[in-house]
Symmetry: C2
Subunit: 166 residues, 2 copies
């Protein structure tokens, strides 16, 4: 099945991120549970709620476009979550694991920043103005989530991790 | 094997991105070959040369730290490159494929932006000042590469793709 038009590419990207968000919704609760730092745990729980809203926004976009969400496996998010799980498993509990988890979570955020950045650009070119606005809301949230994680790392998590005894 | 210290996490992240860069060096020539737009092809070729330099910078960092690069499989970059290959295979040649390829390449760039962002933060916390400066050089290059791709998409590639007949 070839994608022949920019509209096809746009929809394919939507289906990809729709799968990515669903995978993330499954992965975030365990990450929040493994976090020791209360602010990190709260940031991850709050991002879970945000992600559920982002999934609904995608469904809203499908409705506007009049398309049915197609099942598509997001290989990249699968790999990103696998990496996060491996990191949690292989790091000592506490601030060291928290620091590693922030790193993994920021990779996930950046995947989504790239996806929604592309989606907003494509929706705009294609004249899907309402969809572009909705997708832009999510893009802003993803960028904020990434900044919040940087802030936590730089504020105290990395320092705490450095002090954690081997 | 547990990572017990922040230094362990830092080195693990270095080994991960070292594998990621090597995978990217193998994938970029085919992407450049598949690009129709001459500016996109040139941007991908130029990023290949840049990536080779980034690999050397990592080797420089290993030398400074006195560690030997360990073989580690970067699952996320594996997934990202798989996605890029699938996209190229499943899109019609020309501007539509170019637009899809920009999307895939920006996901790769964002993975690296997240990785080097973490690496700079960890190197700074750990007092590896020289390594932090070297890694920061790469971080700047990755951000520039991402901006360049956005610029190409918004300047003409997406418009050309929209005009491409189905």
């Amino acid at each position: 099945m070839k994608m022949k038009t920019l509209e096809d590419v746009f929809q394919d990207e939507l289906f990809d991120v729709y799968d990515a968000e669903q995978r993330l919704i499954k992965a975030l609760p365990e990450m929040a549970k493994q976090a020791t730092d209360p602010k990190l745990a709260e940031a991850l729980r709050s991002h879970l709620r945000e992600t559920e809203g982002q999934l609904q926004r995608l469904e809203q976009v499908f409705k506007i476009l009049g398309v049915k969400a197609q099942k598509e496996k997001c290989e990249a998010m699968k790999g990103l979550i696998e990496e996060a799980e491996q990191l949690m498993k292989h790091t000592a509990e506490g601030a060291v694991r928290d620091a590693a988890m922030i790193s993994a979570a920021q990779k996930v955020e950046h995947y989504e920043i790239a996806s929604y950045g592309t989606l907003v650009a494509l929706a705009t070119t294609l004249g899907h103005t309402e969809a572009a606005d909705i997708l832009h809301e999510t893009l802003k949230e993803e960028k904020n989530a990434d900044s919040m994680l940087s802030m936590l790392a730089e504020d105290h998590v990395n320092d705490n991790a450095m002090r954690q005894a081997a």
